[in-house]
């Protein structure tokens, strides 16, 4: 894992994508996240909006954009869940920010690094979600950490497959 200066990495390795990808991929992630669990039932151990947030935050290496994208996707998820709007929003805002910040500092082209980052950020997202629900809202929600662990693994596997596919769509100078 090579560590470069933040400015150097931001200047030379910011990935750009067609506008259609920016618009379509997040929407598709939310749609599939709502539709696939109907087919997979309780084995739907993944969070596609989180994976997409991590991908764009790492690629753009811009914490503000990462935070905003994560926040919007999280709010969309909340809107569909029937729970108060903002729980997932806060969690994914934080995930987007952290992913972009780490993306500035380390080389994230390596698949193993991406896999580990997605895994850890998934757990951070879950922890933030439960923190908000339990301590900020004071709601009595039980925690099933095994399920969150499976979800983190599922996100990592999806990232391993999806990130190279999305990398192919980036605009090359």
């Amino acid at each position: 894992m090579s560590v470069l200066s933040a400015d150097a990495r931001r200047d030379f390795e910011i990935h750009r994508y067609p506008a259609l990808i920016y618009a379509l991929v997040p929407v598709l992630a939310v749609v599939l996240q709502a539709w696939l669990p109907r087919l997979l039932g309780r084995f739907a151990w993944f969070d596609l909006p989180l994976v997409i947030t991590v991908f764009f935050a790492l690629s753009r290496r811009n914490p503000i954009q990462g935070s905003i994208l994560g926040g919007i996707l999280g709010i969309f998820e909340d809107a569909l869940s029937g729970h108060p709007v903002g729980i997932n929003g806060i969690a994914k805002t934080l995930v987007g920010y952290l992913a972009a910040t780490v993306g500035i500092l380390v080389n994230v082209e390596n698949h193993a690094v991406r896999l580990i980052m997605t895994f850890l950020l998934s757990l951070v997202g879950s922890a933030t979600y439960f923190f908000v629900v339990r301590f900020l809202l004071g709601m009595s929600v039980d925690t099933n950490w095994m399920s969150e662990l499976y979800k983190a693994i599922g996100n990592s596997v999806i990232a391993l497959v999806l990130f190279p596919l999305l990398d192919r769509t980036k605009i090359r100078d």
Partner: protein, 392 residues
Amino acid sequence: MESFVVRYRNLLVLLALLVAQILGLAMQVRRANSGQGDGQEVRLIRLWANGIVSPPEKALHSTGSGVSGIWNNYFDLRHVRQQNAELQKTVDRLRLEQAALLEDAKQGQRLQALLGFQQKYIYTTMPAEVIGTSGTEQSRVFTINKGKKDGIDRDMAVITPEGIVGKVRDVFGHTAQVLAINDQTSGAGVIMESTRIRGILRGNAQGRPEIVDVISDQRIKQGDKVLTAGGDQIFPRGLPVGVVDFVVNDPERDGFVDVILKPAAHLDQLDEVLVITVTEPQFSKEQQQDIATSEALKGAEAEKQKTSEGMAEKLPGLIDPNLPADQQPLNDTSNPGFPTRPQAPLHPDRFTPTDAAPSAGAAQGSGQAQPKKPEPTKPAAPNTPAPQGDKQ
């Protein structure tokens, strides 16, 4: 100052986003605690999210349904004719049963109205297809392809033929969100069929429905059926909810248990559901005819009973209409024994009844009946043991 903002721009934006969302959450929770629903802004966000997500979901669902429909409707049609004949027979039988049940339901409802009960019966349901989920495990909400324009409204009960599923939470133009019974924020009044223990049903973290705050009771057994209690004004009474799977102690309250259920409906694999749209009686022409037939049959039965009662009135009986019920001859138990014998006449003649059998005392043509003479008592034999009372 400017350099501070530029330097910590990212962090400041993050904080601003987090604070804005936390404030938004606080406002929502405050509204929820005061008994109000979603605010206009939140409802707008939900509407937008639903408007963006629902059309692709519907398209995906239609594509999947189309492919499976082509297979099911054109290629996989073996034994359909035989099944159709069997189903027709079942429909005929069920129509008659339904007519009788509807009459009973009407009668029950009339009686309950008299008693002041406010419980509901299912009369009209609307089939709907599940097109999407909430996407998160913490929320057991799913989307159906029927909305306000189809007559769906908030708090309508959603069921399957196997059992209850949930209630309508949010309604949009062509879609609606349903809160399943295994969601942690759901609630329904239930009753255990055998023990008649009542409780509140909600979901747990594992997505299983459980009855909470039940006082520990040894009678609660695995496999006990659980039904809707009907007191929540959402689910009609008596619908199957599930069966008891196991019982766990309430970690927060001593002496209380949580009863984990195995739901009757397949909550993880829902394809089609029924929304109960009307709980008032609305019968089709066919049902009305069936009910009329059933009532006519019952009328004939009543006529027969009335005739038999009329006949009974005309015949001599043990009921005196002028006497109160406790003094009726039928209820007179003062003379339960044998008829009293008339006193012996002073001058018996040939017509005087005697104890002797007619053939024993009077030979044919003898012209006089012989009175029976008492037989002499025999002395007890010397070696015969005396009765115990004589010994004393």
